[in-house]
């Protein structure tokens, strides 16, 4: 067969030849945007300076490392991604990228990002990035995700490391402030994902993933959202009283946490019949505000750092 006989309407799924964008999609660009932002904030709020180019390379390495773990996750989860509506359009279920390619890209980018981060900054930052990739790809994807309904809780640690790595890239250490930034994302993850799981209920169940909604029921999930949000609030507000906090952060955190707590309380108070009647409007609202919640918290930390630079922020 020659090119002349090929039909112009052939897609990459039929030929197995991907575009560059298909490989890029393996890196979960939307998750990477959160990683880039939180890592950048971790790097910028650190008490010492870093050369701008080295800072840029550090954030790039953290983003690529996160993307690499995303590719490894897609390689491992290809069998369940094809079942779930939310993930069925990913490159592997669509047939655009072969699983072996995703594995190779994931491994190559993992090594590349860790080695380059070590060369650009220090061993601690590189070690933390390596552990994050291992944690997300092996501990979360291969082990916990299909084994326990607490998968989201423990797996959330992987997404919480970037600000700590950003901080370590500059300072070469781990301090209370960087641990608190880790704790903020770690504690935020369960209510964020469980709110999502409440209105995409059929997906996880069809794929056999033991989400809390499937194993303990929807009422228990609503209670878990309330409890985890209540545990999140002191962590989020507590950051205001560390070395990276300030008035801007404290004011932002109080407002955002009052709103998030209110949303969790509303979700907890609703019955399944009420939720179905308005197509999970409150759960969807909580999920939406959970996205801005994290961005605004880290944005406020950045604002305080900038103000401190002018001598008017901080405590």
């Amino acid at each position: 067969m020659t090119d002349a006989s090929l039909n112009n309407t052939l897609t990459s799924a039929e030929t197995g030849e991907a575009q560059f964008g298909d490989y890029f999609a393996l890196l979960k660009p939307r998750v990477m945007s959160l990683v880039v932002f939180t890592a950048l904030v971790g790097l910028l709020v650190a008490p010492v300076g870093i050369h701008p180019f080295i800072g840029f390379v550090a954030v790039l390495c953290i983003a690529v490392g996160a993307g690499a773990s995303g590719a490894l996750n897609m390689w491992w989860d290809a069998d369940i991604d094809v079942v779930m509506k939310r993930t069925a359009k990913r490159p592997i279920p669509m047939g655009k990228v072969q699983p072996g390619e995703a594995l190779a890209i994931g491994l190559a980018l993992s090594v590349f990002s860790v080695v380059l981060l070590f060369l650009a900054t220090n061993a601690l930052a590189a070690g933390l990035l390596a552990f994050t990739i291992f944690f997300y790809a092996v501990v979360y994807s291969m082990w916990l995700k299909r084994a326990t309904p607490q998968n989201i809780v423990i797996g959330g640690a992987a997404g919480a490391f970037p600000p700590m790595i950003g901080w370590a890239a500059v300072t070469g250490d781990v301090t209370l402030a960087s641990v608190m930034m880790f704790a903020l994302t770690f504690m935020w993850t369960p209510p964020h994902f469980w709110a999502l799981a409440l209105f995409v209920k059929a997906d996880y169940g069809n794929a056999g993933v033991p989400m809390l909604t499937e194993t303990h029921g929807r009422k228990a999930t609503r209670a878990h959202i309330l409890v985890y949000t209540a545990l999140l609030v002191p962590v989020a507000i507590g950051i205001a009283f560390t070395s990276i906090g300030g008035w801007v952060y404290l004011a932002t955190a109080v407002i955002l946490n009052a709103r998030f707590m209110y949303a969790a309380w509303l979700v907890w108070n609703r019955t399944e019949a009420q939720a179905e009647a308005d197509e999970y409007a409150t759960e969807r609202w909580m999920f939406r505000i959970s996205l801005s919640y994290l961005f605004l918290h880290f944005g406020a930390l950045l604002a305080d750092a900038v103000l401190r630079g002018f001598g008017i922020g901080g405590w």
Binding site: D3, L6, T15, E17, Q19, F20, F53, A120
Partner: protein, 93 residues
Amino acid sequence: MGIRVEHELHDRRRSRNHGVGFVLLGLVAIVFGLTVVKVLNLEELAQFERFDHVARPQIEPGVMQSTSQVTGPAAQTTDAATGATAIQQGGDE
């Protein structure tokens, strides 16, 4: 029937080739940039010279100091002379 030069498949291959090309160029730029930044931010030139694969104890911080403490100024003169001789020999090769 003639062979069609352009096909959607070729667009995808071109996209891949260009993408890989840009990534490799980016990698070169990053490694070059890192090298420049790291070298320009060295506290002293001796830190750069220590990686030239030639054992030169005289540029190691502390070595000269300890040598001078043990043997005095005469040893420093000898070391400097030895270094000059080594450079001279290297230039003849």
